[in-house]
Symmetry: C2
Subunit: 259 residues, 2 copies
DNA sequence: CGGTGGGTTGAGTAACGTCAAGTAACGTGG
DNA sequence: CCACGTTACTTGACGTTACTCAACCCACCG
């Protein structure tokens, strides 16, 4: 059984570690590997391993040494900072195509670095794992990858600044509205780029629990719940299930989110 | 007279635009130019211009095209995001040695980019200005600089995550304590690296007004003031003037800041 | 059919924001 | 250098928001 507080990151996680199949990678278009050619992918496939994780698994703890980089293939993860005697703070999420290890890259690939946050799984899923040393060498030969990583860091910084604005100056209603739209954007983007032929109503899935949303938005689960029911009562969203809502009035949501 | 809301960024600002003197730059050790050799500095000096700014000047507005990069030589600036009908949010500060333009760099030096925040002066000071195009070419010849920029972006991201933690999970008292320590660290670091021979009591200068602190910490000036007097009453700090405090019990401050 | 965990709802409270008054600090012009 | 006007800062009274603690509901699972 998956323990609530895993002391052995990764140990219980790897069910079937097997050589990566980069050529047929489903999320390549979203990942840092997007610009690589056939031969580069062959080289990379020899470095990479696919590992599975289950809901609740700990990928790494705060302060762990960074021995691997990861690309998320499926599932959802959260990066969080712990505080003694208080709710954690979730600094961000990782979905298919996202890269884990960004912050440790810039300029200090050779240095011994440590994770500044813990990473935990919100659902089951799959990671592509790359040994740090080997991948660092690989990058040296394929500068295109470095550019991709730079672009991702830049994006991350922009997201962080938006998050700062949200935490610093928005109330519960505005936070929730922003969050729903954020998820919606991410899910539209993924659908579009992976060329899935899905075309339905504008619905948003929450791949996480209320308390995770709360920890991301700097509030409590109760307040999250209350803000959601308020939006529901105002007819801005419709709740299909506890983990899925339909956007009824996107325009209005955007206005609220903007403040 | 400097207007409160400047519509013409930079126009009123440049008093004496003159060729940079990189060889004798006072903040080089702190800046991205630190690793450059004599000949590189000569080249750079031809690209750069020194411009002066006064308290309240607007360096750029949100959405302005990025035509120049800057290194701060002296004085203090804030980067802020505006919100209609609400207090601004200050996302960060720039002091001597800091580089302005980081976020626009990564991976898209050639693209037409825009500032995601406004930059305003908190005091008078001096900037080193570099035309974007020319500096981008310069970087291509001196990869050391690119590494420096990467390191700075990485640092920025780390700071952003700390800021997120502060805004999301700390109360007024903890926010102020963190802020004081942050300023103290920055000021110690600057003193140390610039090898000033100053050796006094452990005091911290606030190069900014209460409302700027409030906008940075996601609170109001009144609450900032109250939190400061509380720390004063508890004997953790001593107030030498409205813009300068002495750290009486650094240890305790650190404990409070950590939560 | 009871147990469990996630989610919602309610009542009371603490923390912070708002509004307003008062005080100290500063810069300017005489 | 002083008098004045302006701005920044502090303090107080009050209102609002979101947190805390608790009960309850519901879906899912043994």
């Amino acid at each position: 059984m998956p323990m609530k507080k895993q002391k052995d990151p990764l140990c219980g996680m790897i069910l079937h570690a097997e050589r990566g199949k980069c050529a047929s990678c489903e999320v390549r278009a979203l990942s840092i590997c997007a610009p690589l050619d056939r031969s580069a992918l062959e080289v990379l496939a020899d470095l990479s391993e696919v590992v599975n994780f289950r809901k609740g698994d700990s990928i790494c703890a705060e302060g762990d040494p960074v021995d691997y980089f990861f690309t998320v293939q499926s599932g959802a993860l959260k990066t969080c900072r712990l505080q003694s005697g208080r709710r954690d703070l979730v600094t961000g999420f990782l979905f298919g195509g996202d890269f884990l290890g960004l912050a440790f890259f810039a300029g200090q690939i050779e240095a011994d670095t440590h994770y500044p946050y813990a990473v935990r799984a919100l659902s089951k899923g799959r990671l592509c794992r790359l040994p740090r040393q080997a991948f660092s060498k690989f990058i040296a030969d394929y500068p295109l990858i470095e550019k991709q990583i730079l672009a991702k860091i830049s994006l991350k910084l922009e997201q962080a600044e938006n998050h700062i604005l949200l935490l610093g100056r928005k109330n519960a209603r505005e936070k929730i509205s922003s969050f729903i739209l954020q998820l919606d954007d991410a899910q539209r983007f993924a659908r579009q780029n992976l060329e899935s032929d899905f075309q339905g109503v504008d619905t948003v899935d929450f791949p996480l629990a209320r308390h995770d949303i709360a920890d991301y938005l700097g509030m409590t689960p109760e307040t999250v719940s209350r803000a959601l029911t308020q939006l529901k009562e105002d007819g801005l969203i419709r709740q299909l299930s506890s983990r899925c809502v339909a956007l009824v009035q996107r325009q209005m949501l955007e206005e609220i989110a903007a403040g």
